[in-house]
Amino acid sequence: MALSQKVNIAYNEKGGPLLDVNTDKKIVYNTKDLNLWYGKDHALKNINLAVYEREVTAIIGPSGCGKSTYIKTLNRMVQLVPTVRISGDISYRGKSILDKSYKVEDLRTRVGMVFQKPNPFPKSIYDNVAYGPRIHGIKNRKILDQIVEKSLRGAAIWDEVKDRLNENAYGLSGGQQQRLCIARCLAIEPDVILMDEPTSALDPKSTLKVEELIHELKKEYSIIIVTHNMQQAARISDKTAFFLNGEVVEYDETDVIFSNPSDKRTEDYITGRFG
């Protein structure tokens, strides 16, 4: 039986889910009956999924199955596409984020995101990291200095860039750029970090570095990562959700998914029989 059916949730006073009663683990995100359409295109179908605190949750599945769409729904970036329609509910820390009254800017300061292609701003390394704190009103240079250092250290890139903080971020290699983007995301001290195939544009060595970093980050942050590298999911995640055609086929402990999947399609996918 898949995890999504096993969950037994404690609710907060407003009716939002907070705790998995079975495991006593805190729930960060709970998705209930989520459906999403791009125009007429039904991209997500009845998604039910609980994401736990300080864990790495991997989302795998073949191309076009809705992985990116789902993860972008979690910080409402998906709504930048004008044709999107959503039904169902996602609660973050017990509050429904699909509610109109929930400010996206607020949500996104708590939920950081790292993209498939590194996308540093065309500014200096320092300004890239300081961007987030600055827009939130932190102007004090000393404090900014500290934030920048801490975030770059947190993203395991400090030693490589500490002498060139004022150089343009585009002078960095792809792997460094990606870690810089992670640092940029850490600078606003998020609660959750969403990662959409963060290593797919990187070479194996850089990929390894980022994977190690994710392992470190998990101590402080909850991480949701999309990947279509099965090995990667197996290496770094605690839980894995397998998406297919917009549906969650199976969601469980990563060990279970990779060693003993309960659905035939999951097995087929993992053993490389399609996708």
Partner: protein, 318 residues
């Protein structure tokens, strides 16, 4: 041994044979093939000849002009009295007129054009953008003579209500109207620059909790800066070269002044005045036409070079 097999025997038509046969007669095709590049090259050089023609006509008469009027007198003279018994040919009144009218135009066109670009590129939905952009383009397609009429018969009277002491012909009104005319140019070039900033940049900033304004201010505008600045420079160049609006709405006083309520003449309007008076060739005033035109040409040429330099040199790499 004959390599080409005759496998298509028994066919009603033997294309291969026909082709072979026609080939011998197709010298015409070969001739065309040979001369076409040369013909086209000749055509392509017409644009170069045009430039040479412009330079040559302007230069030769300008040189004659400077043999009559010292170079320094022309560029430092504050009095322009070309038709007078004791003519004086100081170009400064025209230069100030030109620069002041262009500056006024840019005061209108830069903020409004840029904000329009921001709205279209960052805020407007696809549908609205597709509706508004062509409408703005209409503004760019209106003949300048119509703007001149508009400035003279509509904007000036309104401004005179608001600003006491504004002359019936003044540089302010045509400046403003020129600005309006340039808005679409600034808006559409800036919008192009801003839309070509990759979406990943926008998403990156939004994902950090930025508002759209912050994304625009801190990420999009800096990234699109070169294109935006280039659009300003091109706008100035356009304003400098604009003729009919100033001619109609600013009169032909050759005041050397910085008072925008006064009538001033621009280089372009001077050319119109002198040429509609049809200066007899050979007179100094006739040559002054070319000297002023040369100055104008150099001005706009430098502006265009600058615009191109900016957009190439400072193109962000993302």
């Amino acid at each position: 041994m004959e390599a080409n097999s005759a496998i298509k025997e028994g066919n009603a038509v033997n294309v291969r044979e026909m082709i072979e046969e026609k080939k011998s007669k197709r010298s015409m095709t070969n001739v065309i093939e040979l001369i076409m590049p040369k013909v086209l090259l000749a055509i392509a050089t017409i644009s170069i000849l045009t430039t040479i023609g412009i330079l040559f006509t302007l230069l030769s008469e300008t040189i004659e002009f400077f043999s009559r009027v010292p170079f320094l007198d022309f560029f430092t003279g504050t009095v322009l009295r070309p038709l007078s018994q004791n003519p004086e040919f100081g170009v400064l009144p025209l230069l100030t007129g030109t620069i002041i009218s262009s500056v006024i135009a840019m005061f209108v066109a830069v903020p409004i054009g840029l904000m329009t670009a921001i709205y279209l590129s960052e805020y407007a939905s696809d549908k609205i953008r597709r509706l508004l952009k062509p409408m703005l383009e209409i503004l760019a397609g209106i003949p300048t003579i119509v703007y001149g009429f508009f400035a003279f018969t509509f904007v000036t009277p309104i401004l005179r209500e608001l600003i006491p002491g504004l002359q019936a012909t003044n540089i302010l009104s045509p400046g403003i109207v020129m600005g309006i005319m340039i808005i679409p140019m600034v808006a559409s070039l800036s919008e192009d620059a801003m839309s070509s900033v990759p979406n990943s940049m926008r998403e990156g900033a939004l994902a950090l909790g930025s508002t759209k304004l912050e994304v625009t201010k801190k990420v999009i505008i800096p990234a699109a800066m070169s294109g935006i600045v280039a659009s300003f420079v091109l706008g100035i160049s356009r304003a400098i070269g604009e003729t009919m609006i100033v001619t109609i709405a600013s009169g032909s006083s050759k005041n050397f002044t910085f008072d925008i309520t006064q009538s001033m003449q621009t280089m372009t309007a001077y050319i119109v005045e002198v040429s509609s008076g049809d200066a007899p060739s050979g007179s100094t005033i006739y040559y002054s036409l070319y000297a002023v035109a040369m100055t104008l040409f150099v001005f706009t040429f430098l502006m265009n070079l600058l615009a191109r330099y900016i957009s190439r040199k400072f193109r962000e790499e993302y």
